[in-house]
Point group: D2
Chain length 392, copies 4
C-alpha cells in the first residue's frame, strides 16, 4: 500500500530519505542456516554506491551496513534481518529553493500533492537513494540463490543511441564489471562512456537500458496470471526509479512475429545446453523466444528481458518552474551532485530486484533446498570484483 514493502514469503520493508539520518531495511522470511556477513551485503552496496567513478554522482556515502538482528554465530536464524545504513553526506540545505518550486520531472510536486508535505531534501523518499535498501536485501537473496545454483546477471545494453553488440552470458560475467558503464561489450562501453561524458560536460543527462538474465531457475515456478513470473517481475522492475519500459523475452519485437515464427517445437533435452535447468530426457522447447516462461510458469530456460530507464532528471541546466507559493514562474538550476546516466548504477539494483522475485517464487514453490544453504557458493563472483582503479 505504502510503497515500502516487497515480496510475499521473502519480504522486504524499507525506510529512509535521501538526506535523513539513515536508511534501513528489514528482511523477513530468510531461511535459517545461511552463512551471512556484513561483507556479503557490503560487496553489493559498493557496486551501487555513489562516487565509484567519474560518471556517477560525487556524493560521498560509504554506505556501510550494520546487521542488527537475525544472525547467530554467523548464520541466519530464520528471524527478521534488520539492516541499517547511515547517511553520512546529507546536505539538504541546498534544496530549499525547491520547497514550493518543483524541480522539472521530479516527484516534488506529486509528493506534495499526495501528502500535503514532503521531505524536500534531495527528493527525500522519492530519491533513488532508497535503492540502497533494495540492494542490501538483494545481497541476502543472492547468497541464497547462489547456494541453489541460480544466478542473475545484468549489464547495460544501451545508452542513448549506442547499443551493445551481441553479448553472451560469459561476456556479462567477464566484462560487465570491467568498465564504469557496466556494459559487457567493451567497444560499446567505450563509446557509451564518451557519450555520457559529452552530455555530462553539457550539463545534460541521457537515458539507456539494462539487459538482465536469470539462470538456473527450476521448472514450475510462478503461478497463473496475476502472479505469473513476468507479472511479478514486471512490478519489481517498474519500481526501479526512472523505469519506462519492461520487456520480457522478445519484448516489443513480439508484435511483428507470427505464431509459426515464435512458437517453439518441443524436443528432449540431451544435456547439450548447459543454460537449461533440466535433466536428460525432459521435454524442452527448442529455442528460448519464450523468455523462460510459458503460461506464467518457468520452463527451466533462462528468464531474460530489458528495462528502459529515462535520463536523470536532475541536470544543472537552467529550467523553468512554477512556484505555488508565489504564483510566479521562475528560472532554477538544480545544483546537487547527480548522475549523468542511470543504468551503470542501476545494474546492481536490477539484479537485486530480479533476485527478490526469483527467491520469492522459489520459496512459494517449495523448491528451496535447505541442505545446500551452507554449501560452497563457488567462484561465480570473482568476475564481479571491480577492476577499475578509480572505483577502489
Amino acid at each position: 500500500m505504502n510503497g515500502n514493502r516487497f515480496g510475499r514469503l521473502f519480504q522486504v520493508t524499507t525506510y529512509g530519505e535521501s538526506h535523513g539520518p539513515g536508511m534501513g531495511v528489514t528482511v523477513s522470511g530468510c531461511p535459517a542456516g545461511l552463512e551471512l556477513t556484513e561483507e556479503d551485503v557490503q560487496y553489493e552496496l559498493d557496486r551501487r554506491k555513489p562516487g565509484q567513478s567519474m560518471i556517477t554522482t560525487s556524493r560521498g556515502e560509504p554506505d556501510e551496513v550494520t546487521i542488527q538482528s537475525g544472525i547467530q554465530d554467523g548464520y541466519t536464524t530464520g528471524t527478521p534481518i534488520g539492516m541499517t545504513i547511515e547517511n553520512k553526506d546529507a546536505r539538504s540545505g541546498k534544496y530549499e529553493p525547491f520547497i514550493t518550486a518543483p524541480r522539472p520531472s521530479h516527484g516534488d510536486y506529486t509528493y506534495s500533492a499526495k501528502f500535503g508535505t514532503r521531505n524536500w531534501g534531495g527528493g527525500g523518499r522519492s530519491s533513488a537513494r532508497e535503492t540502497v535498501n533494495w540492494v542490501a536485501a538483494g545481497a541476502v537473496a543472492k547468497k541464497i540463490l547462489r547456494s541453489q545454483d541460480i544466478q542473475v546477471k545484468a549489464h547495460v545494453n544501451q545508452i542513448g543511441d549506442v547499443e551493445a553488440g551481441d553479448v553472451t552470458w560469459e561476456d556479462m560475467l567477464e566484462h560487465a564489471e570491467e568498465n564504469d558503464v557496466r556494459c559487457a561489450d567493451p567497444d560499446a562501453a567505450a563509446e557509451m562512456q564518451e557519450l555520457i561524458e559529452d552530455y555530462q560536460e553539457e550539463g545534460d543527462s541521457i537515458g539507456g537500458s539494462i539487459y538482465f538474465e536469470v539462470r538456473g531457475l527450476p521448472r514450475g515456478l510462478g503461478s497463473p496470471r496475476f502472479d505469473s513470473f513476468e507479472a511479478r517481475l514486471g512490478q519489481a522492475l517498474m519500481s526501479v526509479p526512472a523505469s519506462t519500459a519492461f520487456e520480457f523475452g522478445l519484448g516489443t519485437e513480439a508484435r511483428e512475429y507470427t505464431g509459426s515464427e515464435r512458437n517453439e517445437d518441443w524436443t528432449f533435452y540431451e544435456g547439450e545446453r548447459e543454460e537449461i535447468n533440466a535433466e536428460e530426457g525432459d521435454p524442452i522447447p527448442v529455442g528460448n523466444d519464450h523468455g523462460g516462461v510459458q503460461g506464467g510458469i518457468t520452463t527451466g530456460q533462462p528468464v531474460f528481458g530489458e528495462l528502459t530507464l529515462h535520463a536523470p532528471t536532475s541536470i544543472p541546466k537552467t529550467q523553468t518552474t512554477a512556484d505555488w507559493e508565489t504564483g510566479e514562474e521562475t528560472e532554477e538550476q538544480v545544483i546537487g551532485r547527480h548522475d549523468p546516466v542511470l543504468p551503470p548504477r542501476g545494474v546492481p539494483v536490477v539484479e537485486a530486484m530480479c533476485r527478490l522475485v526469483a527467491l520469492d517464487f522459489l520459496l512459494l514453490g517449495g523448491r528451496l533446498n535447505p541442505d545446500r544453504l551452507d554449501g560452497d557458493v563457488g567462484e561465480y563472483d570473482t568476475d564481479y570484483h571491480p577492476s577499475n582503479p578509480r572505483r577502489e
Copy 2:
C-alpha cells in the same frame, strides 16, 4: 500467491477453466450505493466474447453473467459481488492428444511441471478464457470510475508491421469500436484486417499491441516505489495472457532522450487543456512525456502506455512436440477454434485491468467521492456500441 487475486482495496478473486462447468469472479471492496445491473457487466463481456467477428474464434459462448450477491434493489451494498458465467460450449475432448504431448509455446508443460497434473481441456486455467472474469470485474470498476469522471480507453495500435497513425482521444472514442480490429485509425484498421485474414488463411497468427490511456485521475494517486502507479499497472498488464512488453509514457524510446529533452518545465494551468485534471492556477508540467506519473504518483495528466501481445500460440499448422509418456517426438496439429490475433479482443481486457488499478489507487488515496456514485454517468459509452453487423 495463487494467481487468482488482484487488487488491494478493490479486490478481485477468480476461478474457472476453459472447458470446465463455469467461470466466476468475486469483487470485494466495491463501494455501496452504486447502481449496478447485469446489463452493465454484460455490455463489457460482449465486447470481449468469442465469435463477435470473422477474426475471432468461433467458439460459441454467450458469456451471460449472473450476479449472485452484493446488490439490493439495484444498488451495491458494499458487500462482495459474486458473479458467475457458465461455460456453454466446452468441448474438452479434442485436447486429449495433448495430455502428455505439450502444444508448442503453451502452458501445458509448465502447468504439469508445477502441479503434476492440469486441466488439459483447452489449456484449462492457462486459457485466456480466464479474462472473462477480469472484464466482469472491470465493468464494475468502470461504472464507479465513470461516476468520478475517470475514463479509460484503449485501441489496437499495431498488428504485425502495420502501425496505426497518430490518433487522438476523440478518435479512440469514435472509431475504435467501428471495426473488428478495434483500431481507431480506420485506414490502418483496414490494412490490419487484411493482414490478419492473410495469416488466418495460412493457418498462422500474428502479434500486435494495444495503446491505452487513462484520463481524469486526480493528482496524488500512487505511492512511492513498489506501489508506484506504473509498477502496479505493470503487474496488471503483464498479467494479460501473451504480454511481452509493458511501456509507460515514452516507453522504450526514453533510452534515447536526453534529460533536457524529456524534462518538462512547470507552468500554471489556465484551463486550456481539458485532458488535465487540475484547477486554474495549479502548477502543471508543460507536456506529458512523463506519462501522467512523477515519482510514482499521478500528476493529473493522462496516464498512457502500450502493451505488446505476442501472436496466439494455437495455430492449425502442424508442429512437433515431445510426448513425455512415450518419449517420442511427434507431429501434432492444434485443431480447436482460435483467434488469429489477440489485441482486438484484448482491448476490453486491457481497459478492465487499467480500471482495476485506477480504482484501487483511487480508494487507497481516499479520493473516491461517494456522493457522485449514483450520478448520471453521461454519454461516454455511446461510442462503444458495436457498429459492425457481424458482431450483432
Copy 3:
C-alpha cells in the same frame, strides 16, 4: 480488508447473503493431486445445515454444493476451486419491517452505518448463513489434513449453566455426533437439550461454548508473534458469528496459575502418549498446559481451546427498537425461523476454521507431504455420520 478473505497460502474468498440468489466460495492454494468430490464437501455441509433437528432453525435449505473448477478426473489440479450453493428457501419479505428499525443486537444498524445501505433480508451479509462457505472450504482442508494424519474435532462443552463433564478425544469421536446438541458427554447432552427446549418454548435463546482440539500437528508450525499459531487461530475463531471469547490452552484459568505450576519440565518421548506427534527420544514437555504451542510455534502436542458463543439474537419475544426514519421507538417481533442456540451447528464451523488455520500453517511451514495426498484417509469419519433419525 473487506471481511471475505481468509488464509495466506490456503486462501478462501466468499460471497453471498442470507436471502440472495446464492452463496459461493473460491478456494485457492489447494495442492494438486487430492481426490475430491462434491460428496466430500456435502458431508460437512449436511452437518451444518438448517433443519437437521428440532433445535435448529426450520429454514429449508438443502445446501447442495456444485464444484465449478479446479478438478480434473476427480482430483484437484492446484488451480482455484470454485464452489456455489444456491439459496432455495429465501424469503426476504418478512424482514421489511426492520429496514429502518434495527433488530436488537443484530448487525442491522452497524451495517447501515458503515455502508449507508444493506441487504436487509435476514441480515444479508451479516447472517451466519455465510458460514456455509467456510464449511465448504473447510471440507477441502479436512481431506488434505486427514491425508497427513492431522485431525480436528470439536464438541459443545457448555450450554447456559450446563457443563459437560470430562470428555476424552475418543468420547468426542464417538459421542459428539450422537445427539442433536453435539456434546460428547451424553448425560450433559440430555440436560442441555432439555434446557434449550425450555428456552425455545419461552421464545428465548441461550449461549454456550465449544471445545476444540487439533491433533497430529508436526512440531515447528507457526511463527513468532503476529503470526503465532494462537494469534491466527484467535482471529479465525473470533470471526465466527456470536463469538465473545477465545481461550487457548488453560484459557482464563491461567490467571491463577503460578509459574511453577504451569511450567512443564522436559522429558524424552517414549512413545506412550499417542496424541503426541513425536518420535522416540524427542524432547517433550511432560504435560500439555501449554496448549500445544510454545513461543507461538507448535510442540507436537494437541492444540486445544474453547470458543464462547453468545445466545442467538433473533428471538420471537417482543422487543423495542428505534426507527431512524420515523424517529419513533416501536415494539417489534423478529418472526423468521431461527436457532435457539448456536453451538450445535457451530461445531462444524469451528472445526472448519481450525482446519483452515492448521492447513495454512502446514503449507507455510513447507510440511505438507504431497505423496500422501491421495492415500487412504482411513475410518476416522465413521463416527461422524448422524445417528439421529431426525437429521436424516
Copy 4:
C-alpha cells in the same frame, strides 16, 4: 507470514532479538501532517521499560528511541517512519547452558524445531523484548487517535486470585499509573503488589489479566466476518507474549446469558452518556453488553474486553529439562533478570495493540479527519505520568 508484520493500512514491521545489537520498527501508512517527536515515543517506551519498579526485571535498558525517517520539521511526511532502539544491557552468555537444553515452557525448543537454530540469548526473537517495537509503533498511533478523540486505556484487573473491584473509566485514567501494578483499584493494587512480592521471594511467578477499553470510535468501523473488529483485535492481543485468552464484551460469561438478557433494545441518543460517539437522535442500544461491536462493526459505544496472561515462565526455581545433544535429563536454573508477573508491563503493550487495530480500522473506513491531526491533543495524558518515585 513471518510474524513481524502487523496492520493493513497502518503497517508495522519489526526486527530484533533480546540480546542482539538492537531493535527496530518501521511504521508505514502514518498520515502526513502529524507533529511527532522522539519524546512522544519515549514516553510510552518508559512505561514499558524494564527496571521501572521492584516488580519488574532489573535489566538496565534505557530503551532510547531514534527516529530515522518520515519526519520533516517535526511533522510526519506520510512516508515510512523508521525507529531504532539499541540494546544496551545484552548479556547473552548466561543463556549458553540452555542452547540444547530447553527452558521449561519457553519457545527454545519450538524455535529450534522450526528453524533448526535460534538466537539463544535470552530467548532471542521469542523474548517479550520484541514488544518494545510495538509500543514505539503504538505511540505514533496514539498521537493520531488522540487528535481524533479516540482514547485507549487499560489496567490490570486481576493478579492470581486477587481481582480488582469495579472501576470506572475515570478511575483508570486517574489511578492506573499511580501504582507499580497498574491497577486502577488502589486497594486491590496493594494486595496484588503483596502477592507478587510473595511469589517473587519464593522464586516463583504468577499470572493475571488486563482490562482494556477503547472510547470514541465512530460507528461503522470494522468489516464483516474475517475482518470484524473483534477478530482483528483478537489476533492483535493473542500476539501478546503469554496470552491465553481474549475476551470481548461479556467474554466467557456470555455462555450463561439468554438472548433476552443479552439483547439490548434500541433507543435514541439524548447526549446523556458521554462515552458514546453519537449525535442526538441517533439510535443507540440501551446498554453495552455487546462490547461496542455488532455484526463485526462498531456501534459508537466503548469497545472493551480482557486479555489473560499466564505467569512468566522464567523463574529461578530449579527445573528439569532434556538436553537433546546429550540425551540426558538435567536440572537447570534460569538465572537471568526476569519479571515475576507480566500484566503491569503488559498494560502499555495492550494499549499499543488496541491502538494499532483501532487506527487501522479508522484508516480503512476512511474516517480519519486529517484536519484535526495537528490540533491540540489535550490534557488526557497528564494522568499517565509516573507518580511513583521508584520509577523516576
